[in-house]
Symmetry: C2
Subunit: 377 residues, 2 copies
């Protein structure tokens, strides 16, 4: 039996009790609100995590690359939404998945892309199920609910023999808030925009069975999901320091951490040097402009106890600088001697996870199980 | 034959002509200055790149993880410096490499670590070659050249039967400059500090054969390397936008780029959306505080021609936002239609490379060869 004490450093740990609690919390909430839940696998790219989400009641998954779709389909998951705008160069890969039996849904937000999808589908005798991406907050891509383009895209798809499966919105700007009222407002804006787009499509004769919305903050802030059929969210399964600052979790909900070792000190400066640099933590400094800046991560003891005020204040490729906020800790070397093992909570679980070939899932029995993750495209 | 036009996106490209020119430039410079050169493999973690560096005259390599050491040793490279402070938990792995014939050198900057190395070496009948890390700019770790600890560490090592192989310094703060005079000054400070530390060791009876210094900016700025025996540098092999701002390369020296596809537009905002987000580029925003901010990267055409003023101004996990500096480009969709393929030059080659399982090396014949890289620890 491998335990946490035997793992090399740096390595990525999952606290499986916290993970299960996070999964349960989201799934219960969605069930209470009467909507399906489609977790975003991009956060973990890890089969055992996604299997736990499905076991808890998730219906289908969301992916951000076709490689993720292929990997999860090979593992037996059939209902997959590829939630990045489809381009001609990727249609062959999408078609191959459908031909193997995958219920792959693709998305678009433009007439140009809809034409290409239709042309390719017609040429290959394939019917793609396409969802139309709706923009409710100007965050990134999508068609605004009232735009003419919405019906133009739907018509182009229908005329080419494709299925208009639904609409989806993602209020990515929810990450920029930290006030419950503002979060509820952006969540309602996401819901209302997606529902309005679906209504316009239905009035034009499209069934538009799916109305899909979501982000971790809006999924947890929503008070009413009238008209929505499914919610998507990703980072909730691990949470992170950015989500803690947004206000949707506490430090003791964060299920991902990086195990590290103290490799040296600069006592005059109050620094301990650890072997988790940005290669292990990622370069994500998502809390920098939030209400509390955690540097490259919040330090905890090896057992997970938070070390209040100690953060990774700096990071090079394989070196992290651990220091205390405010007055430098003159006793840093005594407090954290050479070889001390610590855990660092990440700013952004999606980014930190991506730096590691595998997770080490730590169960209530203290045993560490290796859970591989996908990498690349 | 695979060409660049057949590669999926996003993917990491190496322009091998630029890479060879960068290797030649550094190696010629080192030979002219009469010092050995030990490239840092952490930038590429890629065997064909390191083999090209060695073929050009490099003597040994530097690594930042023991996994890198193991991979390169298995590929036949024997002279390896592990340039991160050694801790007790990693001595077993280091010993195994030495026992297999690897001329592994390890480093330390503290009496505590020197004691552990000595104790472990004595207990296992092993003689470790240890270099002492010197701090010349307060950047990170190391002992200052005049500190008592320098001789204490050397004595502890010798008393335990270990070999004090030399001293090494790394002026990491050189990245913060962009003025040739300041770079020369920090380079001289790095040189002088390392030479002074070696002098103190020699006066105390240690041979201290190696005086190792380096970083890409200081290696290229140094005017005189009196007393230095070897130089280390990593990022010079690819260069990047940070190095362009530091002033040691031009945009047309940058050998690494990320191939991407336009997947959509927000015409009102002057945005093209591409499939290279931060997962492909890394979260490194190293040019943010430099003289020119390139966002998440500088856009080029598929053939490598720089698109002046167009950068990735924003990035989500798999979405990048391409826009023009200043006035938004109202003709963005016309200029870069759906499916357009572009290359993005990275802020920081080490961070961007790490996001990709392999490079695609593009030779003068236009052929793309897959070059794998190492990942994890």
């Amino acid at each position: 039996m491998t335990t946490i004490h035997e793992l090399g450093t740096p390595s990525a740990l999952i606290d499986t009790q916290r993970m299960e609690r996070n999964i349960r919390r989201m799934q219960d909430r969605m069930q209470a609100m009467g909507v399906r839940f489609r977790p975003h696998a991009k956060t973990t790219k890890c089969l055992p995590v996604v299997q736990a989400q499905i076991a808890a009641g998730a219906q289908g998954i969301t992916v951000s690359t076709l490689k993720e779709a292929e990997q999860f389909f090979e593992a037996g998951i059939q209902d997959i939404l590829y939630a990045v705008g489809m381009v001609p160069g990727k249609l062959g890969q999408a078609l191959a998945l459908r031909q193997r039996g995958c219920q792959l849904k693709i998305i678009t937000d433009s007439v140009a892309a809809a034409r290409e999808i239709g042309r390719f589908g017609a040429a290959h005798g394939a019917v793609f199920e396409v969802w139309i991406e709706i923009d409710t907050d100007g965050h990134r891509s999508g068609i605004k609910p009232e735009e003419d383009a919405l019906l133009q895209v739907a018509n182009v798809l229908r005329d080419a023999g494709m299925v208009v499966g639904g609409v989806l919105a993602h209020a990515g700007s929810s990450y920029d808030h930290d006030d419950p009222q503002a979060l509820r407002a952006i969540s309602e804006q996401e819901r209302a925009g997606a529902v309005r787009a679906a209504q316009r499509l239905r009035e034009a004769g499209f069934a538009c069975p799916v109305v899909s919305i979501g982000s971790t903050p809006t999924a947890l802030a929503a008070e009413d999901l009238e008209g929505v059929t499914e919610v998507r969210a990703g980072v909730y399964v691990f949470f992170d320091l950015v989500m803690r600052n947004v206000g949707v979790c506490g430090l003791d909900d964060i299920a991902l951490s990086v195990l590290t070792t103290v490799i040296g000190h600069q006592e005059e400066k109050g620094w301990a040097i650890v072997d988790a640099g940005w290669m292990a933590m990622s370069r994500d400094r998502g809390t920098q402009k939030q209400k509390q800046d955690f540097g490259f991560g919040q330090a905890c003891r090896e057992d997970g106890t938070v070390l209040e005020g100690y953060t990774l204040s700096g990071a090079n490729q394989e070196h992290g600088i651990l220091s205390r906020a405010g007055e430098p800790d003159g006793r840093i070397a005594e407090r954290f001697p050479l070889g001390t093992r610590l855990r660092i909570l990440p700013n952004h679980a999606c980014a930190t996870g991506a730096q590691h070939p595998e997770y080490h899932a730590i169960g209530p029995d203290g045993r560490a199980r290796a859970w591989p993750r996908f990498y690349g495209w």
